[in-house]
Amino acid sequence: MTKNPIVFSFRSFFHPFATFQSLAGTELSPRAVFFSYALWLLLLPPLFSWLGAYASGWHLGAKEPLVLTPKSLTIVSIGYFLLLMFGFVSTAIISRWMAGTYGASRSLGLHFALVAIVGTPLALASVAHLFPHVFFNVLVLIPTMIWSMYLLYRGLPIILQTPPERGMLMASSLVAWLLVAAVSLLGISMALWTAGVGPFLGV
């Protein structure tokens, strides 16, 4: 397995199942996965969103774009990055916690790799943030997310070496976690924003 993150990401993007196969049963260091691969992927969405928003502001649909100062944009991008980091690490850890119930490999490195490979399409598709129109991003990211879910369902049994049906159950549980995390993100954001931490809302 190559350690070069750029080559690795393209390889896993174009041949995800071959990558899953080659990783199955191997000993993988979570640190190696994170620093040589995942970290760089996680940097992409915040970077693209900063650039896109700086160039043309956020087009939220209703007439004029919302333009933020570079300082605010940086704060938002850093927040975005921290969030993605939290999501990545927590999902991998929860996946490993579930592994016992579903007879899957308990190697943390493999779980890091699983989440990283499943998330690769989304990280790469975040190039859509360069055009910060909400609807355009929604249009690009929803099919990407569907593809990622497909990778999860078919890839998890391969890389974690569990029968497909058992893997299906585990993948469903992970999806449930991800949905809950997404919704919590929505809710926490709303609670913070209406409390004054964030853009100004007339509440």
Partner: protein, 480 residues
Amino acid sequence: MSENMNLPKSHYHDEIVKTCLQFSVAWALLAMGVGVYIAAQLVWPQLNFDTPWLTFGRLRPVHTNGVVFGFGVSALMATGFYSVQRTSMVPLFAPRLAKFVVYGWQTILVLGALSLLAGWTSSKEYAELEWPFDIAILVVWVSFGVVFFGTIAKRRIKPIYVSNWFYGGFIIVIGMLHIFNNLAVPISIDKSYSLFAGAPDAILQWWYGHNAVGFLLTGGFLGMNYYFLPKMSGQPLWSYRLSIIAFWAFTYSYIWAGPHHLHYTSIPEWVQGTAMVMSVILLAPSWATMINSVMTVSGAWEKLRSDPALKFVVLALAFYGLATFEGSMMALRSVNVVSHFTDWTVGHVHSGALGWNAMVTYGAFYYMVPKLAGRPLYSVRLANVHFYLALSGTMLYIMSMWAAGVSQGLLWLSVDQVGELRYAFVDIMASMTSYYGLRFLAGFIFLSGTSLMAYNLYKTMGARKAIEARPPQVDPAYQV
């Protein structure tokens, strides 16, 4: 020997189960079809055709009543009658009354839908049908209770299985809610005025409205889940104790949640506050059931290979977790400030309705029909295709409505440095069109999947009569 003398003479009354199931599928197609149509109207208003009975305002309640009371209640009747007989090990009590319940209910639905198109409406959500229908509903509902509890009362096995508590709770609580929320003074056959007005009426309506979701869409379908999941996976329930705690905590706390539909409105703050707190507490019993179910099925993973029904139920549980979690979160005032009146609420409804209710029902139907027909499902491949259509339709629906709703909510509240509104209402509304287009597509995808199921089930059952199954011997230790 006492066991032989105990064996009932007749077989289970499954013809009525089959009938309910067929009606349920028919309503799914019809009411979801109306849903897709009204979704299209929000993108292309020309589809209202300047015709009174085709306008969005009149079609929407046809959709909601059709899916909840048509598709949903028929499914609960089918699965309820199926499971109560088998968990009580006796044929249905008063089978002729059961027939009255089923055909009476369907008559109410058809005539009711027509009345909605004619503009007969109370405007109270999920209780739009006017007073003649309300009376008819009450008569049929009480009969439903008599058949269901009568069957339980004459059971041959001592304990009443947990699925029956949930179905029973559904029947009792919906009856109670229906009576009080529909109290009205009739003026003419098509019009009445509610007994209560303004704020008290609002509190009463959402006591009803939320618990229609709570005890019909959640409670009743949990009953379905508690019977079919262990059956399908061939495993006993993971924790009996958890199911007891979950049931009573659920029945107690759900009722309080109603006023979370009324945050920041002109009702007393203490009512809003209690609703908010109980809505969060409610998460515990909801998830207790989900965990109980997931742990039950995790021991039966080999079945997923050959059994599409199980796939549906497993995913339904994930969406159940999502929807109940999201509900508790949206019940927090600080989140509700943004979500109230927006499409986020619509998205939330459909994550539950499509992701949980429809999918768990589809799972139950894919399991039941082969059993009733006495032969395997016509096409497992079609069922798997259906599964992916249902999943993608649901995900697309949720995502597009999250995007729409959050945008709406935030943009409505958006003010600049000097406190002036940033955006005109009409501009925000116009920017929603693309999301409404995605949602229309999502509904269409979901409906296609449902159509595949209708075809598959029809080919499996055909015009056959339901197999005559007989109640088994009862273990003497549990005999009544």
